[in-house]
Structure formats: structure tokens, C-alpha cells
């Protein structure tokens, strides 16, 4: 009789299991394969051979990276979820469900109550690789992260849909000094949320639940988070001892259908598997060594001169760049020689690093050097400026531009690829003309290579150097990191070498930057004098890929990674007046700080506020979206139409008790426009109108188990929570009409709603088991036609026996309220405009959709803008003042037509600018954004876009807005000069 063997080749590990003829587990193993899949499998098999001395085996392979191997070695293959299911039925016949997290996959198997097996879609972080990535970000091992998480006191909301988003949430928390304990726990909670919302999709995970896969076996904090979230006790949450190898065991069981083979033959057929040639590859980066040497020599020319800090005597200027993942310091002489430089990974504690380095500088300087000015830039700008009493805090875009000018006064294009941002600036007439930052989705650039290098067991330098002389760099596509991960997986499966993958990753980063962030059609669009910078460009492979892709020779300063700090130092040099306020050597000696966090209860935003106390008694507060959190007098909302609109729409109801019953209207999607209409209609018809509670993250979680599509926009996902809220309030029914057509505002070819707004009620009803025909009423209406609308309403509300007269009266009341609402917005818009103009304030039209007024959706961007001293208008407060527009695209959605007219209006007003607010996943905005940009730019206006999602942190948004304001300021200054 033959033994059974299962081999599970996952994205990061290889697991092997041997079963006896009686299905007893004789042997299991677990090893990371570092992309060397075949070698690792062979190594494992040789161990099996040693232990069992050959003999006959029935073998099956499973796992995402095992497919190709199995095919080519002609060994039976079983899909991994199927393998798990096989094992579950054998060993845990009473289980109700199983959750399995792997390196890059997440799966749920529902066993009882309708068997169903699910895997994560192609856009999903929340897996083992995601946890690894986060650990790298925190600069700790996963094991340490686990231990820390168990001591957490609070959990921060972290976007869990995608690793890149989560990073954007975590980084600012780190920079603000949030505790690693809490962050670790928050990361695990994010993984759980992702699993529950992304996978369960409308089905509750309950009963006896099995937890499988490496991460769930090794990470206690993750287990805890799952148990708590799903409300499982020890009896119902089962963590099998052989969880990491569970799929391998399943595969072994599955091999009872396979033919028995001598082990030696199995090894032989795997060993003979050859690299296939069906992966796309590109040309090598360098023809030969000589070409590489020429390349290195050329770039050496753009290095700065050095001066010795140990002997130098005189003035100096300090620049600090507290970036997303790294902290940079530069000290220069008045003639721009480099005295001191430092570049270090944050380790989550930028302040500690800076304090330590500053102490070092003072000690090296030995009293000979006088620091005459200091400037801080980057994510941590505010906090460091406060802590160090630096003279200036400047927007990082300005700092980078300053530095670039030093190297090439003719520079017309700057591209900076850092740890997790790509920033590009176009320079026109000596000023920043256009800024492009990566949207959270295509980011994850530099730190991605780093994480990947680590996964391969290498340092980043070593890893990227491997790519320089790769023979066949693989094509990995250009998009967000989660996708790149699976491209790498595919290449690995096809047997690509580490060298080829390394070169491929460098090329991906470059393509991502050029085609996704800059969206250049031809390299000529970039400009003639390109300067590249940022830590990622220190990597020669990336630099080379950039030159190859653009076909241009570019300048990379030797201090490419320190340009922000260098620019800050230059800024300090040029702008300092009088003595520097920088913390002195003496003050620094006894300087310490403490960090605490709490939830601000100032308003409904419930910001997580961090308070850093400095030893000299000063305080720094961050995380707050407004001054209230900082303990200051709350700033007034009077110049923020977003606050006004939100409060105004909540006043759509009179609150009258109705004799006919209670109708629930969700504060979501189209209701942010039509609430006055429906409130008026129902109150006139004798119903009490009940609104769902105001949006919050908590509310989102309440409904997330009914979210059917994990890639739909956040405003749609939030709707699920609002439905739960109304059901909990015990309304008689919820009213939510389906409207293919919006109201015709006569300025577009057609007047559709977007498909999500139009038909979301269908999805809600199909995926929430609490909804039925009786308590969820969703008629199909076209409000432009009163007759059919009245008919449909009468039919839908038949059980209340409304007369035609009542309905007509109701609609009349509704439309009157809607008109009043619109009139109020226009009036308020005019007021804000007048006041702002009188006070000479900058004015921004924050152009989005009606539902963007929900503070949980816009995350308080309106407040942020007013705190930057900008008056905020909305698209619907101005579009009617704009001309009718003719655009290139098919103009056929009501809300989107408003955007074009609002843009036209802005181009006619020198003092008004436009910022477009876009929800992640909004397919229609892929079309509108380009068109709005074209309208603005055709008349010399800046275009700024802000993408929003669950992402709860405004750090990036703030930089973008400040850069925009700096550019507007610059434009204005120069136009004044011309006059």
C-alpha cells in the first residue's frame, strides 16, 4: 500500500504532509520558499525521502503557486479551498464554517446551511502578505507585532480593503506618535473586518468556526480579534494544531484518487520541470558592464560638495524632511556644501530620530557652528516644528522644487518617488504649474520593493542590484501593489528568477509613475529637463528603467533621497530673519516627551486625538480635524457650505407624528439630494418620517455583513448601515425608490443617475435577510413625469390606500421643499462668496456629488479647507451661474453635468478655484475628472482632485491642498508682478 502525500505551494510558503495508509498524519512541514518554489519543494521532498526511505506515494499538489508546477510535472492538482474542505469533512465533520487566511488569499467555507466556498476578489489586502507589509512599516517582526497587539488599549479605524490604503492610515498615526501596541491591534482588526465584509458578503459567520492557515495559527492577536468580532467562545472558535498544513493534509486526502508512484519518480518529475516561456519578458537593463559604468559616471556628476562638520567653522542651515516612511536631515553651509546628512527609516518614531540626530549634530559641531535657520517639511512637519521650535514649516512640494532648482535652474519636470508617494511637478515660468500625486490606489512604490526584498530574505540594496544585470526582466504590469503581488506570484509560478523579478519590479514602479500618476501619453509630455529624486531613485535599476522608458537622460542628484530636507534648508537660508528659534543644545539635553490619545467628543466626527506633551510644558495636538480637538475655540463653519448643506438637509423633516405610520428614509446616496422631496411627500400624506442615524464608521460596520460587492464606492457601502439603523428603529417600512433618471436640469443630453445610485435598493433588498416586500418599498420612478410617478407611488403604497389627490398634494409639498432647499443653497453660496470676497479669502468650489456632504464620506475636508483659511462652495451652489457647456464626452448624468458647469463658472472667476472630490471606485468619475480638468486647464486654471474612501486620514489631502494653495499664491504673485 502507498502512503499519501500532499504538497501545498502557497504564495510564500511550501507545506508538505504525509499520511499513512490509514490516514494518520505521519509528518508535516512548513517552510518559506522565497520565490524559489521548485528548489524548496525538492528540498522538502528530499527530507521526506530521508525520513521514509522512498517507497510508493499517492501525491497531490495544491496552492496558488502550485498549479503550474503540478501541470508541468503531471501530478494531480486540487484547488486549495477544495483541499481544505476535504480535510474539514474528514477531521471536523461538525464544523459550520471555516476561515482560512494565507499569504495572499483569504477564504471562507460555509459548511452548514448551504455549502459555499468563497475566495477574496482580486482587490483585497487583509492577508498574510498584508500583515508582513505592515510589520515592515512598523519595523518589527510579525511576532513582535503580535505580542504588542495583546497589550493594546484602543483600536484605530484602519482601511482594510487594500494594503496601500491601510498604510496611508497607519503612517500618519505613527508620525503623530500613536502607540505601536494600539496600531498592531488595529491592523489585526482591519484584517478581520476585511474578511467579514469582503468575503462573508451578506452571510453571517456563526456556529462552530474553524480557523486555518499560517497567519491565524501563528498570530494570537489576530485570533483574538476574530473571536471578539464574530462573538465566538472557545468552544465555537477552533484553532487546529495543524492549521498551517491543513491544505497539505487535504491534498494528501485528495490523492486517494491519484496513482501511486515511487517517491524517486515524483522527485524526478518535479526536478525536470522547466521554466516555461509564456511569461512576458523585456530587454536587459544594460547591454554590458561598460554601459553600466558610463551610466554610473554620468550620474556622479550631480553630487553635492561636502564640507567636514568636524572642522568647519561658521554659519549653517538645517533642513528636516519627516517623510511617510523615512526621516531625512541635512545641514548645509551658506554656499550649499553638505555638512551633515542623515536618511533613516522612521521606525514609527520620527521625533526620537530627529532628537537623537540633532544631539549628534550639536556634539559634532563642537560649538564651532551656528545654526542660523531651520525648516521642517513632510508629513511630520507640524509636530516636529512644534517640538524643535523650528523657524519654518513648509509644504513638501515647495521644498522639493527649491532643491531641484539648485541642481538645474532650467528644470521643467520633477518626479519624486518616495516610500509610498509619487509626486510630480510640472514647472512653467519658474513656478510649479501642475502637481500630480499618486492616488492612494497606485501608490505603494518604494516600500513595496522593500517589503518584497524582505520577503525574499534580502536587503533592499542587494535585491535591487540583482536586477541590474537580469537577462529577462519579467513584465509585471503597472498598478497597485496588491495586483503586483499576484503578478509576481504568476511569474514565480512560471519559474522566473529572482533577478528577473527584481528588474521587473523596478520597471513596474517606473511605468506606474509615468502612465498612471503622470498619465503621459508620450515621454515628450514630461519636459526636456527632468529631475528625478526620492529615495527610490537611489536605486540604479529604477533610475535606469526610467531612462529607458522615457528615452531621456535625466538628472539624479547624489542626494536624491534628501531633496526635501535640502530644499527645506535652502528655504531657511533664504528666508530667515533674525536669530533662529531652533531648540538649543542646552534645551535639548533635558528634552523628553509623552504621547497620549483620546477620542474628541467635540462633534460627530469623533476624531482620535493625539496629545504629545513636551518636557518644557508645551503641548502638541494632532489627529483633530478642527480646532475643537486642539482645545481651541471652534472655528466657525460660516464659510463652509458643506457643513451648511448637511445641517440644512437634516432639517427637511418637520418631525410631525403621522397617523398612517412611520416611514424610514436612509440618509444615503440619492437622499442627500431628494430628502426634502420625500420628507415633504410623506409628511403631507400623514406619515411620520424617521431618518437613519448620522453616518459613522460604527454604522458602516453595522451593515458591512450585507455588502455584496467589495469594490463598490464607500457612499454605497455606508447605505447598508443606514438600512440596519432604520430597521432597528422599528419603522413600518423603508422607502427607497429606484430612479434610472434623475430630475432633468436641462443642461445635458440625458439626465441619468449613475447605476449605483439608480438601483442600489435592488442590491440592498437582495442581500439583507431582514428586508422583505412589506418593509422595503422601492418603486421605479421617473420624477420628471408626474403621472407615472403618482401611479407608481399609489401602487407601491397600496396598503395605505392613498387617494390620488393626497399623492398629488404630497408631491407638490415635496417639490416645494426641494425647491426651497435648492434656493437656500444658492443663497448661502452667494453669502459665502460675498463675505469671502470682502475679506479677501481664497475660495474653493469643492465639487462632488450630493452625498459628499456626509462628514463620514468627506472626512471633514470642508473643515480642513476653512482651517486653511479658505471659503468653501459646492458644485450645486454655483453651477447655475455657469454657462451651459458643450463637452467632449457624452454629457448624460444630472449630477455630473453640474460639475462641468461649475468648472466653467470657476474659469470665469479669477479668485475661485476648484477641487474635485471623487469617491474611490466611482467609475463615472474616471470620465468626469478628465473632462473637468480639461475645462479648467483650457483656461489656465489649476485642477486638483481628491480621492476619498474609508480612509480616515487627511494627512495626504492636507499636503495636496496646501500645495495647491501655494501654487495659487505663486500664480497670483506673478500675475500681480506682471501688472
Amino acid at each position: 500500500m502507498a502512503k499519501f502525500m500532499g504538497i501545498d505551494v502557497g504564495s510564500t510558503t511550501v507545506k508538505v504532509c504525509v499520511l499513512s495508509e490509514e490516514y494518520e498524519i505521519l509528518y508535516t512541514s512548513y517552510e518559506r520558499h522565497f520565490a524559489r518554489v521548485k528548489e524548496c519543494v525538492l528540498n522538502q521532498l528530499s527530507i521526506v525521502e530521508e525520513k521514509f526511505g522512498g517507497g510508493e506515494f499517492r501525491v497531490s499538489i495544491t496552492g496558488s503557486a502550485g498549479l503550474g508546477l503540478a501541470e508541468r510535472a503531471h501530478i494531480s492538482f486540487v484547488q486549495e479551498v477544495q483541499a481544505a474542505f476535504t480535510a474539514i469533512r474528514k477531521y471536523y465533520p461538525d464544523a459550520d464554517a471555516a476561515v482560512e487566511l494565507g499569504g495572499e488569499d483569504a477564504k471562507i467555507i460555509f459548511i452548514t446551511g448551504g455549502t459555499e466556498q468563497r475566495m477574496n476578489g482580486s482587490c483585497a489586502g487583509g492577508t498574510g502578505a498584508f500583515i508582513d507589509q505592515m510589520a515592515t512599516l512598523l519595523n518589527i517582526t510579525v511576532d513582535e507585532m503580535d505580542k504588542l497587539s495583546l497589550r493594546a488599549e484602543k483600536v484605530y479605524p484602519i482601511a482594510s480593503r487594500c494594503g496601500v490604503f491601510a498604510k496611508s492610515d497607519i503612517q500618519p498615526l505613527l508620525n503623530q506618535g500613536a502607540k505601536k501596541e494600539d496600531i498592531s491591534a488595529s491592523i489585526f482588526q482591519a484584517v478581520v473586518d476585511q474578511t467579514v465584509s469582503g468575503l462573508a458578503q451578506g452571510r453571517r459567520i456563526k456556529g462552530k468556526v474553524l480557523f486555518l492557515g499560517g497567519p491565524l495559527y501563528f498570530i494570537k492577536g489576530l485570533r483574538k480579534a476574530f473571536k471578539e468580532t464574530l462573538g465566538l467562545d472557545d468552544e465555537h472558535a477552533v484553532f487546529p494544531d495543524n492549521a498551517p498544513c491543513f491544505m497539505a493534509i487535504g491534498a494528501a486526502l485528495y490523492s486517494k484518487n491519484a496513482d501511486a508512484m515511487p517517491l524517486s519518480k515524483i522527485i524526478e518529475s518535479i526536478a525536470s520541470v522547466r521554466e516555461s516561456d509564456d511569461i512576458a519578458t523585456g530587454d536587459p537593463l544594460f547591454k554590458d558592464r561598460a554601459e553600466y559604468d558610463e551610466f554610473v559616471a554620468r550620474h556622479k556628476a550631480s553630487d553635492l560638495e561636502f564640507a567636514d562638520i568636524k572642522t568647519y567653522k561658521g554659519d549653517a542651515y538645517l533642513g528636516i524632511d519627516s517623510g511617510s516612511t523615512t526621516t531625512k536631515l541635512v545641514l548645509i553651509t551658506p554656499d550649499c556644501k553638505l555638512l551633515y546628512q542623515h536618511y533613516q527609516s522612521n521606525n514609527g518614531q520620527p521625533l526620537d530620530i530627529v532628537l537623537e540626530r540633532l544631539r549628534e549634530i550639536y556634539s559634532l559641531a563642537g560649538g564651532r557652528i551656528r545654526i542660523c535657520g531651520a525648516a521642517v517639511t513632510g508629513y511630520g512637519e507640524d509636530m516636529l516644528k512644534a517640538a524643535l521650535k523650528a523657524d519654518f514649516g513648509i509644504v513638501e512640494t515647495v521644498a522639493h522644487f527649491k532643491a531641484a532648482l539648485h541642481f538645474n535652474p532650467k528644470v521643467d519636470f520633477i518626479i519624486d518617488i518616495g516610500g509610498q508617494d509619487i509626486k510630480c511637478f510640472k514647472i512653467k515660468n519658474g513656478a510649479i504649474d501642475n502637481i500630480m500625486l499618486n492616488e492612494a490606489c497606485s501608490s505603494g512604490c518604494g516600500s513595496f520593493i522593500q517589503t518584497f526584498a524582505k520577503a525574499m530574505g534580502m536587503e533592499i540594496d542587494e535585491f535591487s542590484k540583482l536586477g541590474l544585470f537580469a537577462k529577462h526582466p519579467v513584465e509585471l504590469g503597472s498598478r497597485c501593489t496588491v495586483f503586483m503581488n499576484s503578478s509576481v506570484k504568476q511569474a514565480q509560478k512560471e519559474g522566473a528568477s529572482v533577478e528577473d523579478i527584481s528588474a521587473g519590479l523596478s520597471s513596474s514602479i517606473v511605468k506606474n509613475a509615468i502612465y498612471k500618476v503622470i498619465r503621459a501619453k508620450t515621454p515628450d509630455e514630461l519636459g526636456n529637463n527632468i529631475l528625478v529624486q526620492g529615495g527610490t531613485f537611489l536605486n540604479d535599476a529604477v533610475l535606469r528603467c526610467f531612462e529607458l522608458e522615457t528615452g531621456k537622460k535625466v538628472v539624479r542628484p547624489g542626494i536624491a533621497g534628501l531633496m526635501g530636507a535640502f530644499g527645506a534648508a535652502l528655504y531657511a537660508k533664504e528666508n530667515v530673519v533674525g536669530a533662529s528659534t531652533l531648540i538649543s543644545e542646552e534645551e535639548l539635553k533635558g528634552f523628553t516627551y509623552t504621547s497620549k490619545s483620546h477620542t474628541c467628543k467635540g462633534c460627530t466626527s469623533h476624531c482620535n486625538v493625539n496629545v504629545i506633551g513636551f518636557s518644557d510644558g508645551r503641548k502638541f495636538i494632532s489627529g483633530n480635524k478642527c480646532e475643537k480637538g486642539a482645545g481651541l475655540k471652534p472655528h466657525s463653519d460660516e464659510l463652509d457650505i458643506y457643513s451648511y448643506k448637511y445641517e440644512r438637509i437634516l432639517k427637511s423633516t418637520t418631525g410631525a407624528k403621522g397617523k398612517r405610520g412611520r416611514v424610514g428614509l436612509p440618509l444615503a446616496l440619492g437622499f442627500y439630494e431628494q430628502l426634502p422631496l420625500w420628507a415633504g411627500f410623506f409628511e403631507s400624506c400623514g406619515f411620520e418620517v424617521v431618518l437613519s442615524e448620522q453616518s459613522s464608521r460604527k454604522l458602516y460596520f453595522k451593515g458591512q455583513h450585507t455588502v455584496a460587492s467589495d469594490t463598490v464606492c464607500y457612499p454605497a457601502k455606508l447605505t447598508h448601515g443606514h438600512i440596519e439603523s432604520l430597521l432597528d428603529q422599528g419603522v413600518d417600512f423603508i422607502f427607497f425608490p429606484c430612479e434610472s433618471y434623475n430630475l432633468d436640469e436641462h443642461d445635458s443630453m440625458n439626465h441619468y443617475n449613475c447605476p449605483v445610485v439608480a438601483y442600489y435598493p435592488e442590491l440592498l433588498k437582495a442581500n439583507n435577510e431582514r428586508l422583505n416586500e412589506k418593509n422595503f418599498i422601492m418603486p421605479y420612478l421617473d420624477l420628471n413625469d408626474e403621472k407615472t410617478t403618482a401611479r407608481a407611488l399609489k401602487h407601491a403604497l397600496a396598503r395605505y390606500k392613498l387617494s390620488s389627490k393626497e399623492i398629488a398634494k404630497g408631491l407638490k409639498e415635496g417639490f416645494a421643499r426641494l425647491d426651497a432647499y435648492h434656493a437656500d443653497i444658492r443663497k448661502k453660496g452667494a453669502e459665502i462668496l460675498e463675505k469671502a470676497e470682502k475679506e479677501g479669502k481664497a475660495i474653493v468650489v469643492l465639487a462632488g456629488r450630493p452625498y459628499h456632504i456626509d462628514p463620514e464620506i468627506n472626512h471633514g475636508i470642508g473643515k480642513l479647507l476653512t482651517s486653511l483659511d479658505v471659503a468653501v462652495l459646492s458644485e450645486d451652489s454655483v453651477f447655475e451661474k455657469g454657462k451651459q457647456v458643450l463637452v467632449n464626452v457624452l454629457n448624460q448624468w444630472t449630477y455630473h453635468a453640474r460639475l462641468y458647469r461649475a468648472a466653467e463658472y470657476v474659469t470665469e472667476h479669477q479668485n475661485i478655484n476648484l477641487v474635485q472630490l471623487v469617491s474611490f471606485g466611482c467609475g463615472i468619475d474616471a470620465i468626469t475628472t478628465d473632462e473637468v480638468r480639461a475645462i479648467l486647464e483650457s483656461r489656465g486654471k489649476l485642477y486638483t482632485q481628491i480621492k476619498i474612501d474609508e480612509i480616515n486620514n487627511l494627512g495626504v489631502v492636507k499636503i495636496r491642498l496646501r500645495s495647491m494653495l501655494a501654487a495659487i499664491e505663486e500664480q497670483k504673485r506673478r500675475s500681480d508682478e506682471r501688472k
Partner: protein
């Protein structure tokens, strides 16, 4: 609207128009969307004097060109189509002074209606003289529409019927053929039959030609073994185009399955019915409404006849559209009319009712209508049909084949188990 009525700001760019004279001077390129149907359509258009060619370029360069020229978040079909055009125009095979590209346009509330301007924008920098032609029935793009008389329309309609029959018969024979290549030979012969029909201007004698095709495929010797049947539904482009769905049908063949692909005519009828529904639901009547009613009645009549004939020859017929509408009503309202809307759940239900429980619901990543009509209805369908086994697959420029195939394999594993259970039951029933 009120304040500045009469004043209009024009932000449109100039673009090359397609004029009727170009019929004689220009070559028209068409994307590779429906392998079965386009072959027939292109064939008859050529005979009408059009110089027209279906593109078959399918390399990674196609996707890369698409990525370069189309907005990151635009749906995958727009990216594939644009990439295919640009890659072809760059190949040097075409005189770009005398080449135009053509694509269909629906005018619905889905962003697919905007492909034309997107392609124009993409071509602008490098191919400023290439006109983009719109093939539509909604009166859009009047200055660049494809001229269509009633006769061409009729030929188109019958081409769709013939293409559907051909596709369905081929799919029913290919997995079971005992002699390799027999189905492909039959396919070639049937194309010749259709060509004759059009040449002789007898294409409306559909009964005769359909019978001829059925007879030809009946000659293909097939095994009796049971195979897993997999229905393919979803967004129209990724459902049919091998470029869009990473050669899904080929993959299913290689896994020993029978792909079941619903008819293109259903989509045509779906569009017609939506117009009629709009009139009924919202009183949105226009001049075309009676025409749509007429066309629908006629086409449905033909469809039913074809179904009857197909049944006689022992092949599984395509769905009866009225049946599809009844299926839709069980799951979703027919008011959901953007993109493929209610047609998707209707097809999934109809497939389940005709013995195809296993379904790949193909959609471009982040497809808006599909959130609701695709993924959103799966739960309901599973409750209605016990064995319904659906996998929703996202297609995207960077989603890897491994990822997609792994998910489909999971669906197939369940499908095979279900099939085995069924066979066991049948065997048990026989014993009794």
C-alpha cells in the same frame, strides 16, 4: 439655466468626422469582440463595398497601449478596445491617413456610452486623422455614425441569429467530438452556408439555413460522456471577447467543460425591451417606441421558430427571450436597465432552469451596473436554485490569469462534485 440662458461655452475639441465618402477611401478597423458574429457581419459588409477588418492582435502590447491611453479607472473593455486600435495603427500595416475605427455605442446610463469620446481622446495625439465611427441605434454621434439602411439592419439581425446558432452548436459539439477538429470543420462549413445565404440575398430564409447548420453539426460524432456545463454571463464585452476574458472558453475546454454562452440576440432584444419598458414605466414615449415594439415582435417570433427547429435536431436551444423576462422578474425588476442590467440575473436563472448550474459571471473590475445586477443578485439566485454555483470573476489589466483561473477552478471543483453526486443518484435510480 436661468441666469445665462442662451450663452453656451464650448469646450469640445476638434476631431475627424466620418463622412459617407470615406466608404470608398477608408479602411475600417473593428475590435475583436464577438469571434463568431463579427466574422459573418464583416463578410457581408465587405460585399456591400466596405473595406472592413476585424482586429485579432492579442499581445501584451495591446493591454499596455490601453493602459497608456485610457484613464486608470475606466473599465477594462474600453482599455482593451482602445489598446487594440492603437496597437494596430502603430503596427505600420495600415495607412493612417485612410483608416477609421468603429465601435458600438448604446447610449445607456452606463459609462460604456462614453467609449467613443474616450477613444477619440486616446487617438488624438498620435493619429489625429483617424475618425472614430459609432455604430448605434440611438441617433448618437450624428456626424460620425455608421450609415445604416433597413436592409443592412435586417442583415445585421440575421447575422446575429446565425452567429448565435453557430456559437451554440459549436460549443455543444467541441467538448464531445470524437474526431479532433470535426467541430471546427463544421464551423467552417456553416460559415460557408451563411455566406451563400447572404450572397443569394436569401438570408431571410432562416429556417432553411438554420436547418442546414443543424444538419451539418449533427454529423459531428460525439461521445455520450457527461461533462460539466459552465454558463458564461456578464458584461457584454468580457463575456464574448477572448481578449477581454483571457480566453475563458479555451480554458473551460482545457478543463474538460462545456461552455454555455447565451445568445447575443438576447442583448439586442434586451435593448429593445428597455425602450418599451421606459414607455410603460415612465411614459417616456418617443417616435422610435412603436418601431422598437415592432422589431421586438418580429425578432422574437424568429427566435421562437429557431428554438423549435433546434429542439427537433436534439440540440439544446438558446433561451426564449420571453422566458428570460419571466426569469428576470423572479430576481430583479426589469427597470434595472443600465449596462447589461436585468439580463444578467435573467440569464443566470434561465441557465439554472435548463440544467447549467455552474456559471462564470464575468465583469470588468469595478463595473458599476454589475455591482447590482451581477454580484448583488447571486445571493437571491442561490436561494432560488439549490445547486446554483456561481463565481464572479473580475477582469482587469493587471489581474493575473492565475488569480482568475484559481477562482474558476474552485467553482469547477464544486461543479464536479455536484456532477458526481448526480450521476450516483442516477445510477441508484436505475438499480431500483
Amino acid at each position: 439655466m436661468k441666469e445665462n440662458k442662451g450663452t453656451v461655452a464650448d469646450f469640445r475639441d476638434e476631431y475627424p468626422k466620418f463622412t459617407p465618402e470615406m466608404k470608398h477611401t477608408h479602411k475600417i478597423l473593428v475590435p475583436d469582440m464577438l469571434p463568431f458574429h463579427f466574422e459573418i457581419i464583416v463578410d457581408f459588409l465587405r460585399k456591400e463595398g466596405w473595406d472592413i477588418e476585424v482586429l485579432h492582435n492579442d499581445s501584451r502590447a495591446v493591454i499596455d497601449e490601453g493602459l497608456k491611453h485610457v484613464h486608470n479607472d475606466t473599465c477594462y473593455p474600453a482599455l482593451c478596445v482602445t489598446g487594440q486600435f492603437i496597437d494596430a495603427l502603430k503596427s505600420g500595416k495600415y495607412d493612417t491617413e485612410h483608416t477609421a475605427v468603429m465601435i458600438t455605442q448604446s447610449g445607456g446610463g452606463c459609462r460604456a456610452s462614453n467609449y467613443i469620446p474616450l477613444i477619440r481622446k486616446a487617438l488624438k495625439a498620435e493619429f489625429p486623422k483617424v475618425p472614430v465611427i459609432s455604430l448605434n441605434f440611438a441617433g448618437l454621434e450624428k456626424d460620425s455614425g455608421f450609415p445604416m439602411g433597413l436592409k443592412t439592419l435586417l442583415k445585421l439581425a440575421f447575422s446575429v441569429f446565425y452567429g448565435d446558432t453557430l456559437m451554440s452548436l459549436y460549443n455543444q459539439c467541441k467538448p464531445y467530438e470524437l474526431e479532433e477538429g470535426a467541430s471546427d470543420k463544421a464551423r467552417e462549413d456553416c460559415l460557408a452556408i451563411i455566406r451563400t445565404a447572404i450572397d443569394k440575398n436569401k438570408y431571410r430564409s432562416y429556417k432553411k439555413w438554420t436547418k442546414a447548420m443543424l444538419e451539418r453539426f449533427a454529423q459531428v460524432k460525439r461521445s455520450k460522456e457527461k461533462k460539466v456545463k459552465v454558463g458564461i454571463v456578464g458584461e457584454i464585452y468580457v463575456k464574448y471577447s477572448p481578449l477581454g476574458n483571457s480566453h475563458l472558453e479555451d480554458f473551460l475546454y482545457s478543463e474538460g467543460c462545456e461552455p454555455v454562452v447565451p445568445a447575443l440576440m438576447d442583448f439586442v432584444l434586451y435593448c429593445a425591451v428597455n425602450n418599451i419598458n421606459d414607455a410603460k414605466l415612465y411614459n417616456k414615449k418617443n417616435a422610435a417606441t412603436p418601431l422598437f415594439k415592432l422589431a421586438y415582435k418580429y425578432l422574437h417570433h424568429v427566435q421562437v421558430k429557431i428554438i423549435r427547429i433546434t429542439e427537433k435536431y436534439g440540440f439544446e436551444p438558446l433561451h426564449d427571450f420571453e422566458h428570460l423576462r419571466r426569469c428576470a422578474d423572479k430576481v430583479i425588476n426589469q427597470g434595472v436597465k443600465m449596462g447589461e442590467g436585468w439580463l444578467i440575473p435573467a440569464e443566470m436563472a434561465a441557465l439554472a432552469e435548463t440544467g447549467t448550474d455552474n456559471i462564470v459571471c464575468a465583469q470588468p473590475f469595478g463595473c458599476l451596473p454589475n455591482h447590482i445586477a451581477g454580484k448583488g443578485t447571486i445571493r437571491t439566485l442561490k436561494q432560488m436554485y439549490e445547486h446554483e454555483n456561481i463565481v464572479a470573476v473580475d477582469y482587469d489589466p493587471s489581474a493575473t490569469k492565475v488569480n482568475q483561473e484559481n477562482r474558476i477552478k474552485l467553482m469547477l471543483a464544486t461543479a464536479r462534485e455536484n456532477l458526481a453526486l448526480e450521476e450516483e443518484k442516477e445510477a441508484a435510480a436505475k438499480k431500483d
